[in-house]
Amino acid sequence: MLIPHPLLGPCDSSEFTYLGDARLIDRPDGMAEGAAAAFADYVYLRDNPAGVHRELWFHEQGDRSWLVVTRNTLTHEILGAELARDVALGGRGE
């Protein structure tokens, strides 16, 4: 798989390590009410879709940036990649 890095261009996926669902950007507030349940959800539960999936990849053998890659889990087709920083600051990550 080639991941279209927004700064570096196409990079082989073996340069990256994989973390998982991009929702992991949205860390719950540990001081809020019901934080224990929110964290159990955050840490352990996944949507695990068959189809389009937004996920976090770390360019460990490259520029060490975190990317949000949009990829189809049925075909491995990569539909896009953005810097996770931009996604987090854009307040999306959904």
């Binding site: 996926s13 994989y18 973390l19 998982g20 996944r46 695990n48 068959a50 996920e55 889990t73 491995h76």
Partner: protein, 448 residues
């Protein structure tokens, strides 16, 4: 373990009862012995036109007491034990493709019970004991071969870890032997003992482990379940659940609505997808694991060997092919195929361990979808929906667990209580902090 022994005795008793069933059924199918040398000879002379299917192809009935979703190893085993051991009737297995078309036909066929943690090891040892009696139990040749598994160790720290694991295995009634370097050399003199980076220092051997004919296991359970009256319904995809007031009423399928008293889900890599139809998110990610087989070679690897420094495991099939595998590709996938980087990594692991295989040609590579759980251990439990039960999260250890998984799931469905050896496999163990994490890598499914 006392209770597991009792279950083995029950299984033994039901085996004798099955003997009776088989004889009765055999009369119905015109022939006292359906398979014999004479029969093969006669069929050979008459164009093999007399063989009959091993199981019926029934139409779905409007309702069943028990519906098992998934006609793979675990689903078929569940239906088998539910009917035979627990004496239940009105059971159906719904399979979206054909029987045994998923991971039961895609794995590397290893059976073993060499786990460490108390939540796991008694369960897998129960499974190992069921394997040992399986062919007599369902009267079908599953080619169970106790050729032994050797986990190689390469460092002093690894020796300590394997000694601890071996002791845990002995405590649970399994067998384990710690071999030194010369002990390993006596078994497999052609291993690369003096690899500069990963010298072989010894190994943990379980002699009762081995391999089995994976398709034969599915066929044996399917045939046994069919003979006991279970409806095995193929080409029947579940498309939804009918849930009223928090209780399961039935399932919507590609062949119409089917009512159900209890529904058991045993769908491996599709667990997330199927449970989403019941409105549940799972502590599971689906990942692709590749496996490989070489061209047929003369007998050279008598047992199962695992590399302790990389991730590589190998055995030789009875046809002569080297069957081997390694790590997950590491990203969510439902594609049943992986990428070249992992193929290269597995091949490098193999070459580091046994350079002699470098000249063998690769015949096939394929992938299967693993339901990787958040702690690397499975789930056999009820769900928040009354009457809906889950058997999943097998990661890439599902094949060896097939008999005990089926038995424990049938136990749960039939009695409402978990089997003694499967008490730890609860769905709520994650939020409650009772994870069973053999590797200790935390909630990162692609590392288990």
């Amino acid at each position: 373990m006392a209770s597991a022994d009792k279950d083995l005795a029950v299984a033994d008793k039901s085996r004798r009862r099955i003997g009776g069933i088989h004889r009765n059924e055999a009369k119905k199918v015109r022939c006292a012995v359906r398979y014999s040398g004479l029969r093969v000879l006669i069929e050979g002379l008459t164009g093999h036109k007399g063989w009959r299917p091993l199981w019926r192809d029934p139409q779905p009935k409007p309702a069943y007491d028990y519906i098992i979703i998934g006609g793979g190893g675990h689903g078929l085993a569940t239906a088998y034990y539910l009917a035979r051991t627990f004496g239940k009737a009105r059971i159906a297995v719904l399979e979206k493709g054909w029987l045994g078309s998923g991971n039961i036909g895609r794995n590397t066929t290893i059976i073993r019970s060499n786990y460490l943690l108390p939540g796991n090891e008694p369960f897998y040892e129960f499974s190992m004991k069921l394997w040992e009696g399986l062919e007599q139990e369902f009267n079908f040749n599953a080619m169970v071969s106790q050729r032994g598994i050797l986990n190689l160790l390469h460092t002093d720290g690894q020796r300590d870890a394997y000694r601890r694991r071996g002791n845990a295995m002995l405590f649970a009634g399994a067998d384990a032997e710690l071999l030194d370097r010369e002990g390993v050399r006596a078994m497999y003199p052609w291993l690369n003992f003096d690899n500069a980076r990963f010298p072989i220092k010894g190994g943990l051997l379980q002699r009762r482990a081995g391999t089995a004919r994976h398709d034969g296991v599915a066929w044996g359970y399917a045939r046994g379940a069919d003979l006991a009256g279970v409806d095995l319904i193929q080409n029947c995809e579940v498309t939804g659940f009918r849930i009223e007031n928090g209780r399961i009423r039935g399932v919507e399928t590609s062949r119409g609505y089917i009512g159900a008293g209890k529904v058991g889900v045993a769908v491996a890599g599709s667990t997330g997808r199927v449970m989403a139809m019941a409105g549940m998110r799972m502590p599971i990610e689906s990942h692709v694991l590749q496996a490989f087989v070489s061209e047929g070679l003369k007998p050279t690897i008598p047992g199962v060997i695992t590399f302790g420094a990389g991730h590589f495991y190998v055995s030789q099939s009875d046809k002569g092919g080297l069957v081997f595998g390694g790590d997950l590709d590491g990203y969510n996938s439902y594609a049943q195929r992986g990428n070249m980087a992992v193929i290269e990594d597995v091949a490098e692991g193999g070459m580091a361990l046994m350079p002699m295989i470098g000249r063998a040609r690769l015949l096939r590579a394929w992938g299967g979808i693993m339901d990787m759980s958040m702690d690397g251990s499975p789930i056999i439990d009820r769900t928040p929906v009354e009457g809906l039960y889950l058997n999943g999260g097998w990661c890439y250890g599902g094949f060896k667990a097939t008999p005990a998984s089926g038995y424990a799931f049938a136990h749960l469905l039939a009695t409402g209580a978990p089997h003694d050896t499967a008490r730890g496999y609860r769905l709520d163990r994650f939020e409650r902090g009772y994870v069973i994490d053999e590797k200790g890598v935390g909630a990162q499914p692609n590392l288990h």
